[in-house]
């Protein structure tokens, strides 16, 4: 059942259009992540759902009710800010109780709700402290606590982990995932970090320049990216792109020419072959983690530039062997520590199912 629905939502600041028509629906209990590079409008979109920004055009529904022009407080949403936005002059208890006090709940209920949230988030020992006496992770927890005490219909998170160090970030990520499981609440989460998006989301909305690029589960986005933008954004290290020419088409087979390919060309078996014709430019996408060193029938013939050992695996940076324009470096992620040194010839293979093809406009073939 649809719980949150955005219907062709637009946002303009004067003549500048920031959100150019976003439609999307989330069902109850779903964890949705808005992801995209900075300036893509993801935070603006979240703030429009919260009611902190006016909607210029379109309709917004929460739990079947049109809340497009509703006051933020009446939308029954809560939000965790990137800056945490804790009230500095109130202690932890009062920070969490503030919303309940505004709703004029009885004192006993306020106490019970705050203590419950404090228990879930392990804040019981800190209730008397002021925010400035807390560490970053503790402040983060208080901000989450403040959002859960009111039992909102919808939780909004605006890059909540971006101010934390790497270790704390992965720890809090797990806690947020647990929280989602235990509360079963609908959550919308904004981040520019694709790892957070992949690990937390039931569904990811990839945004670019105010438009939705693709909506899907993390694995869908990884396996079937709709275009080169999504393909490049999801996955780390970034997908390698090689721009090749179609030299022949035969049934479901395509032959693509590029100097980086072993033997100068690559044969791909794909149902999309019918849509291509000789002379077309096709972008071939290869994920670094799918490339294997020392395969029996390599697809790429390159020269190693340098190798970075990550301990358990090695990241290889390679370029075309043939002289002329060097083109984009190709990155491969391989387990172990292959015996290679810069300047060595590097033959990389790939399983046939892992080759992504995009047309000249960047759309998946």
């Amino acid at each position: 059942m649809t719980f949150l629905r955005l219907d062709n939502i637009k946002k303009n600041y004067g003549d500048a259009s920031v959100i150019k028509g976003v439609s999307f629906a989330a069902s109850k209990g779903e964890f949705v992540v808005f992801v995209g590079p900075s300036g893509c409008g993801k935070s603006t979109l979240l703030r429009m759902i919260a009611g902190l920004e006016d909607v210029s055009e379109g309709q917004l529904y929460i739990d079947g009710r049109d809340v497009t022009y509703e006051e933020p407080a009446k939308r029954e949403v809560s939000m965790v800010f990137q800056s945490y936005a804790l009230y500095p002059h109130m202690n932890v208890f009062e920070n969490m109780a503030f919303g309940l006090r505004m709703a004029k709940r009885p004192e006993a209920e306020i106490r019970a709700q705050v203590m419950e949230a404090a228990r879930i988030l392990q804040l019981e020992a800190l209730l008397e402290r002021k925010p400035r006496a807390l560490s970053g992770g503790q402040r983060q927890r208080v901000a989450i606590g403040r959002s859960i005490v009111r039992h909102p219909k919808l939780f909004l998170f605006d890059e909540p982990l971006s101010n934390l160090d790497a270790e704390l970030r992965s720890q809090m990520r797990v806690e947020i995932a647990k929280l989602h499981r235990s509360l079963g609440a609908t959550m919308v989460y904004v981040t520019h970090d694709q790892v957070e998006a992949m690990t937390l989301a039931d569904r990811i909305v990839v945004l670019r320049a105010g438009l939705v690029e693709q909506i899907g589960s993390p694995t869908e986005l990884y396996d079937k990216p709709a275009n080169t933008f999504v393909a490049g954004f999801i996955g780390s290290p970034k997908m390698n792109f090689i721009s090749a020419k179609v030299s022949s088409v035969s049934g479901t087979g395509l032959r693509l020419d590029h100097p980086a390919f072993a033997g100068g060309s690559l044969g791909v078996d794909t149902p999309a072959a019918a849509r291509a014709k000789v002379g077309d430019t096709v972008t071939v996408g290869l994920r670094p983690e799918h490339l294997t060193v020392g395969a029996a029938d390599p697809v790429l013939s390159l020269t190693l530039d340098f190798a970075e050992s990550l301990g358990g695996s090695t990241q290889l940076y390679a370029r075309q062997s043939t002289s002329g324009t060097p083109g984009e470096p190709v990155i491969a992620l391989t387990p172990g520590r292959p015996e290679l040194k810069p300047g060595d010839a590097l033959k990389l293979g790939i399983a046939p199912g892992h080759i992504y093809l995009f047309n000249a406009a960047g759309l998946a073939l």
């Binding site: 009611g51 933020p72 800010f81 800056s83 936005a85 804790l86 002059h89 709703a103 006496a133």
Partner: protein, 269 residues
């Protein structure tokens, strides 16, 4: 090391320079007229309380201090009550004519008070307000509200807007946000502007001299009233001056406790 010594010498010079008139006033208030006028000045003398006995002998000085307290307290209170909501609006809302309004607040302090003394006197006369507390309070408001608006607007602007938005999501209305978020977090700025307002109202002489006769004379007016054509009773003037300075000092000490720096620390990362 040399820098430290120079630093100490400089600081001492400034402290001596600023404190000397004050010390001289307090010393003179305990001297007899002949000790005050002695040349070279007398540093060691037999202190006398006669000047204080004299000034409190009639009710003129004590009455004036009560008048000053009424006028300064009420005008300070009113300027904070009226100025802080204005500062909130200027700090957080965009509206037409905002910059003009801002400039108007600043320009209020650009006119020399003496320029307006006569028109204000005539206005007060026609309104039948001469020699009342009200007329002084109203006039001081025109000086104090701009001070409060300036200082507090700046203070409010430094409060992260996220706090207000968090409060809106928590269900707080504009007035609650002002009262529960902005007033407590703006306290240092409000305290500073209150001190300025109080000191200004307490020390103001020109309008107090022009607009009052007998009933509502404030302390500075009374202090100058000792000067007659025939004598300059320095002892009484200095004793009155000392008595005048005391309440402002006490007020500033009380309020400065609220001027805690970094009150907004910990709100955001």
């Amino acid at each position: 090391m040399r820098g430290k010594i120079l630093h100490a010498i400089g600081l001492t010079a400034i402290v001596v320079f600023t404190l000397f008139p004050f010390v001289w006033m307090v010393m003179a208030s305990f001297k007899t007229q002949s000790d005050i006028l002695a040349s070279p000045p007398v540093w060691f003398f037999t202190p006398t309380l006669q000047n204080y006995v004299d000034i409190f002998a009639d009710t003129k000085v004590s009455g004036a201090i009560v008048n000053s307290l009424i006028v300064a307290t009420l005008s300070t209170l009113l300027s904070v009550v009226l100025g802080t909501p204005a500062a909130f609006a200027l700090a957080r809302y965009d509206f037409r004519g905002k910059s003009d309004l801002w400039f108007w607040f600043i320009s209020n302090r650009m006119t020399s008070p003496i320029v307006l003394a006569l028109p204000v006197y005539l206005l007060a006369m026609y309104a039948n307000l001469l020699d009342t507390h009200l007329v002084l309070i109203l006039i001081y408001l025109t000086f104090n509200i701009p001070i409060v608006v300036w200082i507090v607007t700046d203070q409010f602007k430094s409060i992260p807007p996220d706090l207000e938005q968090a409060a809106r999501l928590d269900g707080a209305d504009q007035f609650t946000i002002f009262r529960k978020i902005y007033l407590p977090l703006g306290a240092p700025g409000i305290a500073v502007s209150a001190i300025f307002s109080f000191i200004f109202s307490w020390n103001e002489l020109l309008y107090a001299l022009v607009l009052t006769r007998r009933n509502v004379q404030t302390a500075p007016v009374v202090a100058t009233s000792f000067m007659s054509g025939y004598e300059l009773p320095w002892g009484k003037i200095m004793a009155t001056g000392t008595v005048i300075v005391l309440p402002v000092t006490i007020f500033a000490l009380i309020v400065s406790r609220h001027m805690v720096r970094g009150l907004t620390m910990g709100a955001t990362k």
